[in-house]
Amino acid sequence: MKALLESLIRGLGNGSVYALLALGFVIVYKATRVISFAQPSFMIGGAVAVSYLAEVTGFYLAMVLAALLVAAVALGIERVAIRPMVGRPVFVVAIITLGIDVVVRVVVNGFIGLDVRQVGDPWGLSLVEIGGLAVQQRWLAMLAAAALLVGLLFAFFRYTRYGLAMRAAALDQETALAQGVSVGTVFALSWAFAGGLAAIAGTFVGTGQGVDQLTWIIALKALPAIIVGGLDSLGGAVAGGLIVGVVESLVQSYQSDLAPWLGQNFAIVTPYVVMLLVLLVRPYGLFGTREVERV
């Protein structure tokens, strides 16, 4: 029982990180109907920015600055590389985002070098005892940060002028235009959000073990998360991220006892297995709109 709960908390912690990444994918998708494959580069870029900034400003301020920095970079990339492509087939734009990802990662790799870079977080791998459970502090920090950010995001979309404008543009672009919403601004904002969220996710990925040139692969776990949750649902992105995190953690804890024939490291592929299972039952994801099925 104790082991199960500990595994659950680890899953929720990691799942929070996937959820932040997934939110970025979904926000960009809703605004532009394109899945941006540039997310891994923003994630790793954020972590690396923190690893440098933290020495100067301390960890927390570094995380905020890195999120703003990556958001600004993402906004700039949207303006220069994506906006001129408006009207091209979605497939073409998605490929361009893939190219952006490679370019940004090459640049970021220059700052990583061949070693592991620490992000300077206060948690490391140290444990805290709650109710007899020994859990890593960083998992709790991830959960708390994700809860805070998700709350802020939902408030933004619900109450602010630009939040509403983004929702309107996601539902019906021409109607939004007719109300005087600048769709270009909506595109730019969506990329900035995705960049900032990915940067924070990346920072949390780097807590404990640091980041190296291969850490970006973790961002790909957000893909099964958004498919599970539904491409066009913010709530779905959060749920999908958490589900993927928990399932992965449980498999990691128990698979070697219960199903050793699946081999070692089966946990790594579980996000994709979950995705396939959900797709069989609900092709548009758990919370997605039925129409998205066609995409």
Partner: protein
């Protein structure tokens, strides 16, 4: 004054849809724009409000001016800020948002006047106030049309472009829409009213234009149009070109069905 001069519009680089349209909407008036399906009325409104781009259309000749200043190369957001708002054909309510959220989207360009404009719109449409927390998609067709008009008013426009506001509505509701247009106009908003329902439009307009295949073919004071034999015949469905008309009738029927559902 909203003025369209010798306007040509092309869709997809090849389809010439407006062929030299001119039209004047003096400040403070209601002007009616009539015409059969496919005549180019919606296209003209898109050209004024800057929404042609969404449809791969562009102005290739002529001009649209608001108080003498050309606007036909501005983006929709800039045109809304100049005081021109369009209520699109088919209402185009944001169905997943609440009634009030729809109105707040309409206020995007005028956030400072949000409270005052909200009061004004709720005054015009008490029903919307009652249902302001409700999901807009659950409103009836007539209520959605009111919401679409209210949403456009949230920008505080000086010129309001209405595209077939009575489409698909029961006669009683058509009368209600007509009274509302009159009231909105009396409050100081100039109205360009596109309508299939010629009787309704001409009963409140000062002046009327009739379009046919991309051209203005008639342009008279509303009272004169109302008593014009051709107009009466045409809108009673007794025009000359039988075959073409029956095709249009079919198209019209389909459209009604789509938006009623």
């Amino acid at each position: 004054m909203l003025e369209v001069r010798n306007l040509e519009v092309v869709y997809d680089d090849v389809m010439l849809v407006l062929r030299g349209v001119s039209l004047r909407v003096p400040a403070g008036s209601i002007v009616a724009l009539l015409g059969a399906n496919g005549a180019g009325k919606t296209t003209l409104l898109r050209a004024i409000s800057g929404l042609l781009g969404v449809h791969d259309g562009e102005v290739t000749k002529g001009s649209v001016t608001v108080d003498g200043e050309p606007v036909h190369h501005l983006r929709p957001a800039q045109i809304v800020r100049r005081g021109v708002s369009q209520v699109m054909e088919g209402r185009r309510i944001l169905g997943e948002l609440t009634v009030e959220e729809n109105l707040r989207v309409g206020a995007h360009t005028a956030p400072r006047d949000l409270a005052a404009n909200l009061d004004r719109v709720y005054g015009l449409f008490p029903l919307l106030k009652e249902r302001r927390k409700g999901i807009a998609g659950y409103l009836s067709g007539g209520e959605q049309q009111m919401l679409a008009v209210g949403r456009a008013l949230m920008a505080g426009p000086r010129f309001l472009l209405l595209d077939e506001p009575s489409l698909g509505l029961a006669p009683a509701l058509v009368g209600q829409i007509r009274d509302l247009v009159v009231e909105i106009n009396a409050q100081g908003t100039t109205v360009l009213l596109v309508e299939q329902n010629a009787t309704m439009a001409l009963s409140i307009a000062a002046h009327g234009y009739v379009m046919e295949t991309g051209k203005v073919v008639m342009d008279k004071p509303a009272a004169d149009l109302l008593s014009d034999e051709d107009i009466r015949e045409f809108y009673l469905g007794l025009g000359a070109e039988g075959a073409a008309r029956s095709f249009r009738a079919v198209k019209h029927y389909r459209r009604r069905k789509r938006w009623l559902s």
